[in-house]
Symmetry: D2
Subunit: 333 residues, 4 copies
């Protein structure tokens, strides 16, 4: 039975594995200074329209968030994030552990809004309080929603007004950008963000994330920062090869799009609007007995346990087929 | 015109200054190993009934919270505190800056309740989330309220159930313990807390706080921890002398009691119940114009600014007299 | 032309790649709780005779050192290491960056000796100095030497005497244990160390290190510590699969042994004693002109640049053949 | 019997105590924003010729070093210091504990020289090594020596060449500047340093150090940095009053000069050259029996214990009189 637990429980897309195999006996410069990493970076610069970005390949998302944030801000500075933000909930205090306070806002639908930021800025206005310095958002968010073009432009504006960095966690950026509901191209992101990462792990890679630093101020000495957090991979080319493969002909987006299509197929069957659940994470409510059965059989995650009814999370991955979905639907009936 | 800004804007109680003068040409062992510090600690052990506590003298409250918490817990562990808690709001991320997440609960009246803790413990139940390890409370709280005997016993019970340390910030402990509304003796605290500090700075001292570590597990190598955070005073006896003077014959509580009496005098005039505002911080609402006038003339602090009406904070200190209060009352009429 | 730069410039041993390919469409539990990781751990427990160890799979060596050390000791505690130790020289202050002082000793041949430790312990004897808490050694060392059975037993003894943890960085543990000069079995290490890691990256893996925590005190909450440092891999099974493959039938040691044989072949040709250079890193002195030519042609690293003569480092990897060595020898003539 | 242990075992100079007494019932703005602190800063700006410096008052030397360094540099950056430097030896890893590596040089006479810095800069030249960013010196040094005008100019030059900050720990700056051997005025320091602190604690103050930040780049948000490390004093004016008193008419230098005169008196008697031991710390060698007797009777510190002969440290403080010295001399005969 296919398991709908998450999008990182299957090793990698066949083309990713093949690419690694192909270069397995080739000499490469270590620590991310190899030709594959450079080539991947060139593709990314083109696609996201960030010709002057510096791009770094790291092993995982929590690590990427931690290295970027701890390099960008001081210990008396803080990060504004949604209550539901990954850094606030599911990173075992990696951000605070490296010395940085997260200032949470309630947000809505897992997103941060300009008004949230304004309120924080008005409150935190003296040296006895943490100084906000960076806004953390994720796209898609932890609950599968995505930002609109207008929302991102508005965030950029308020960040500029207050001198804040705008950083986007793109663990599921593929799914966000290929969603039917997404109203911008990848290149738009390069114009509104100071930094973002393009998630590989949850989009069919063996492992790896590409951190794209657009803002010059954040680029300085960044390789030192990576090494200092134990995040520099000796065989950096192992990630470079994957990103090169994924971006040389659009594989990255193909994987995400195919995944979204299977997700949309499921949503159709369940009469869920793509507007409300635009990406590959699908949340449904079931009575508790049924919820537990689905969890047991399909490995889905309990999201919000209620007294009688509970919300479970179904995740579609690069491995999920419509046939897998049909079996799930059948069981849900 | 007397200034009601806070309780640390006047240097020190005359007896404290006199005590320092008295010992000004005496040789003392440095770094807190002097006879005055030992004598002060003996008084404290008696009064709080903590014969096996280790007691350390530090310069300020934020520092004391930071040294204790960062020594007590690991970076993947967190502190449960009220949203309004001093460590969360007014310490410029000193706790997070030293690597520890604060898990905030809404609480009520500035206090943390057992149910708040239970909810946190049920939610934070796996290694992808911060592991709660210590509960931070303050007494009096940041909004002047105090814990009852029953409330502290209940907190102790839930902390024992979940294996959490219970730590009390006593920046205004004098005011709390000498409040008419307080239903326990100092010695009670020694029995329900793992650690607490007795605030000197806000109770007529030149500077200095006494950190009382009751729990043996937290005592190990603590002098190393103090020095490591830059918090060990070369002339530790300068604080030891003040605490010795304050506890040898009850001066500490006399100062607090006298302060509370002036505060009660003000509350009477304003028809404020001591039940609701039991200590030396008094919050009143005024229309915005009047509020601003009081702030300008008496140095009080704006607490919550509203559209038409605002809340201001009036603090009674060891220097405030009933005559000072009369002038304020006159102006408020 | 084969490049003798280091042992991490070629992607992976064919069997490692094959193993990944084999499991590419299998569902696995994330975060290192999968069956391959468990199976690998069982092999490791057997081979190193550590039935009660806890074993964790991480991405790289600097990260592994940082996570282990920062979890094991407090901020006022320090690590004793050789001046030449990797953590002291080539980790961009990852240990200090996470809050821990390294106390360096001169050592000899890249090794730490009991007398070095005794001297440190006698000097650092009060709370104004860092408190030594852990001894860091590497095997093979950064200059290719290995510890003898006697040396390790002596270190264990002095660590026990002073209450210090003994931790071994095994980035090149394969090469050390399969050296002709090694006078102990893998299981011996399990009996004298508190913790060690078995390096995969430099022994033919795509990436990955296995951290073996023998001492119960160091095991507590270690998965929290990993996640808190951003070091928990979502697809932990990607490392588990590699270690399972490497230890199920001795591949790990076969790779190391084969590598050492090529290294010995080179040493024979150069009349270098295996006693002095027992593993896969070989240091030779050449006049500066020749040294530069070798560097240019074979990618070897400059180790110590002198006025007329320089020392270069030649590293044999799992990819190096005797034919590659022959070409190098030819050029050196 | 007078105790020659150190220069912080007697509470404070009478004029310092008197000044505190004088202002004991005056209202002052908290957190160092009071008129006394501003007045003190104006005197300091004049004397050290640093009209654009920002000046902050902290409680102790280790704290001051920690706050300045941790604010000035990143975690992947390091501090160059002499092996004997206070931050390296006697601060219980406060610098590393806050995340910064100290790169030690052997120096000579407790001082750092341009060549030491050059060697470090040539070695630490890539992102796998800590990036040197700040040079820490002390004046007088931990062994009582002082820098010459020429030496400081040379350090400035090399720091400019490599883009390093030059920071001076002035725990005993008074003694250095009033030494007969000192060949510059206070104002010279303001022209060659990026930051320095003027020690109060060891020069007759109750407590307190004045941190003078000359370099604009280091000034930004510094009050946030202070608070974030728990180092902002609520009653900052308690230190401001002391510095105002000490600098309004030269008391600071008078105390230091008088102390140096007593030290010179002792040196004369012992035929110690002021060139070699220019300040208030005097090191003498005695046979072990005699050394122990002096330690027991006069509280001096053992500095280097030898087999037969040992070096002890005699410290002259603001309280020491020539009569006290006579008694010591008598005993030494």
């Amino acid at each position: 039975m296919y398991q709908f637990t998450n999008d990182y429980s299957y090793l990698a897309h066949p083309r990713i594995i093949k690419a690694l195999e192909k270069y397995s006996d080739e000499h490469n410069i270590a620590y991310g200074l190899d030709k594959h990493s450079f080539s991947a970076s060139n593709y990314i610069k083109d696609i996201f329209d960030v010709p002057n970005a510096s791009i770094h390949y790291l092993a995982g998302g929590t690590q990427t968030n931690m290295v970027l944030i701890s390099s960008a801000i001081k210990h008396y500075e803080g990060v504004i994030a949604a209550n539901s933000g990954h850094i606030n909930v599911h990173e075992t205090a990696a951000i605070e552990g490296s010395g940085h306070k997260i200032i949470t806002v309630n947000g809505k639908d897992g997103k941060v809004y300009p008004n949230d930021i304004k309120e924080v800025m008005e409150l935190n206005n003296n040296e006895h309080m943490v100084k906000p310095a960076l806004v953390f958002i994720s796209n898609s968010t932890e609950i599968g929603t995505i930002y609109t073009r207008k929302e991102l432009l508005d965030l950029r504006e308020v960040c500029d007004e207050y001198g804040l960095y705008l950083y986007l966690d793109g663990a599921r950026l593929g799914s966000a950008l290929t969603s039917k509901e997404c109203d911008y191209e990848p290149s738009f992101l390069g114009h509104v963000l100071d930094a973002f990462y393009i998630g590989g792990t949850k989009n069919g890679f063996l492992f790896g994330e590409a951190l794209v630093i657009v803002n010059k101020q954040l680029q300085k000495d960044f390789r030192y920062a990576i090494k200092n957090k134990g995040a520099m991979l000796a065989k950096g080319y192992a990630v470079g090869i994957q990103f090169e493969e994924a971006f040389k002909d659009g594989l990255y987006f193909d994987i995400a799009k195919a995944t979204n299509e299977v997700a949309d197929y499921l949503k159709d069957k369940l009469a869920i609007s793509s507007k409300e659940q635009p990406t590959n994470q699908i949340f449904i409510k079931l009575d508790n007995k049924k919820a537990q059965e689905v969890i047991n059989k399909f490995g889905t995650e309990m999201w919000n346990k209620g007294k009688n009814e509970s919300e479970i999370r179904i995740v579609i991955s690069f491995m999920t087929t419509k046939k897998d979905v049909d079996e799930l639907i059948e069981f849900l009936k």
